[in-house]
Symmetry: none
Subunit: 230 residues, 2 copies
DNA sequence: TCTTTTTGTCATAAAAGGGTAATATAGGCT
DNA sequence: AGCCTATATTACCCTTTTATGACAAAAAGA
């Protein structure tokens, strides 16, 4: 598999250089642009797998450009991570849901950045860990988007599928509602924590039709755990 | 498990003192140095698990020292968190490029600092002993939030879990009710001391179902002790 | 555009947890 | 033994947390 390509759009030289270095180090290819116009050009003839976009840019701002991109069907699906300065409109990024897949506040550690990038890529399907994840008689097939117990198919919605995917790749560990939101929905969406309960309920309902409602366990005061063992 | 040791390198007395206090409070051991030379000496004969390093130091600057450290194989893997003043942000980011694992902007809250430290320690694997605490055939797993004796699961409530966690990480030592309240419930809650008795009782009841009620021992006039030996 | 599905939110029910006080028991001292 | 104090135990009630069902907005198909 060829290296994934990341477009960095950042006007400050020092930060841009650092980003590129970090990305290289982490095994990504990268192209850098200093403003939205540049970025647009690059986008038009190469097709990056992900865009790291500074919130503040000279000329067309990062957010502004982001909005435009999200209107074009052609580029809508390119995952985007926003770079923002601490305290700067952080709430707005979350609240407005302007289309970014995640955001990260400057300054940040290289490890954190890379972890975020990987998470977003994974969510958007660009990195597929294993095509098939099996746990006991549970099989989740990411390619066919199918979930089955033994040879019985389970009918799950997209969100339920992603939730299951997360659970099956992170079994036996408790996750808080916040963590689940971050991991499964993405950091930039703002959703009530209680909504998790409802999704858990939906999952359990489906699982219980096959006698496996015990897979998703409540850990009172902390969150939920997915585990084969009781 | 012995407490993790943190080397604080900071020239301003007030801040250094504060740091040391916060660290103690959070259960870390700490050694302080006021400049890079001092720090180097300490580093040479003790081996801290993490270094909290001020960006600006008299003499050899923090970053400069950091660079040197990262060149020495011996010290390369010691995780480092940079302390920086607000407004030096770009420099900081560049600092991360040179090997720091995280940075934190002054002023910061103790809570934030401790959280960062824990995160870095966890990432670097130093804190993994915290995931599972085993004492005899008792195993408390903080990741899974499970407590078991042998292969039997114990059903404990959140508070009981925390109490057990404290006991298991501080065995063989007597704690007064006040100390237990401070450590397990937190300093800021006001609860009747007698309430502890009730929780002890609940714990004992659970433990006694597995024939281990002798683990929690009453030390009349002082408090309670958790110990495998009778 | 018109359905159908998906998904987030709310209101309410249900359950679990946790603090307190009252009572019982035990330890230790004179 | 008798008394005082410290701890154990129990029951109760209030609070917090989670489960559940219904609804409507949004998204996806058709």
């Amino acid at each position: 598999m060829s290296r994934l390509n990341i477009l960095v759009v950042e006007d400050e030289d020092a930060i841009r250089a650092m980003l590129v270095m970090v990305l290289e180090q982490a095994g990504f290819k990268s192209i850098a642009a200093t403003d939205a116009e540049d970025a647009q050009k690059i986008l038009d003839d190469s097709s990056p797998d992900l865009i790291l976009l500074d919130w503040m840019l000279p000329g067309i701002s990062g957010v502004e450009w982001l909005r435009r991109l999200k209107k074009e069907p052609m580029y809508r699906d390119v995952p985007i991570i926003l770079l923002t300065a601490r305290g700067e409109e952080e709430d707005k990024v979350r609240g407005l849901g302007c289309g970014a897949d995640d955001y990260i506040t400057k300054p940040f550690s290289p490890k954190e950045l890379v972890a975020r990038i990987r998470a977003v890529l994974r969510r958007s399907g660009k990195i597929q860990g294993l095509a098939q994840i099996a746990l006991g008689d549970l099989v989740l097939d990411t390619e066919q988007h199918r979930l089955s117990i033994g040879d019985k198919q389970l009918e799950v919605s997209p969100t339920e599928f992603r939730l299951m995917q997360f659970f099956m790749t992170h079994p036996d560990k408790v996750y808080s509602r916040t963590q689940l939101l971050d991991q499964v929905w993405g950091r930039s969406v703002y959703i009530e924590e209680r909504t998790i309960d409802v999704h858990i309920r939906r999952l359990r309902k489906i699982l219980s039709e096959h006698g496996r409602e015990d897979l998703v366990q409540t850990v009172r005061g902390f969150g939920y755990r997915f585990s084969l063992i009781d």
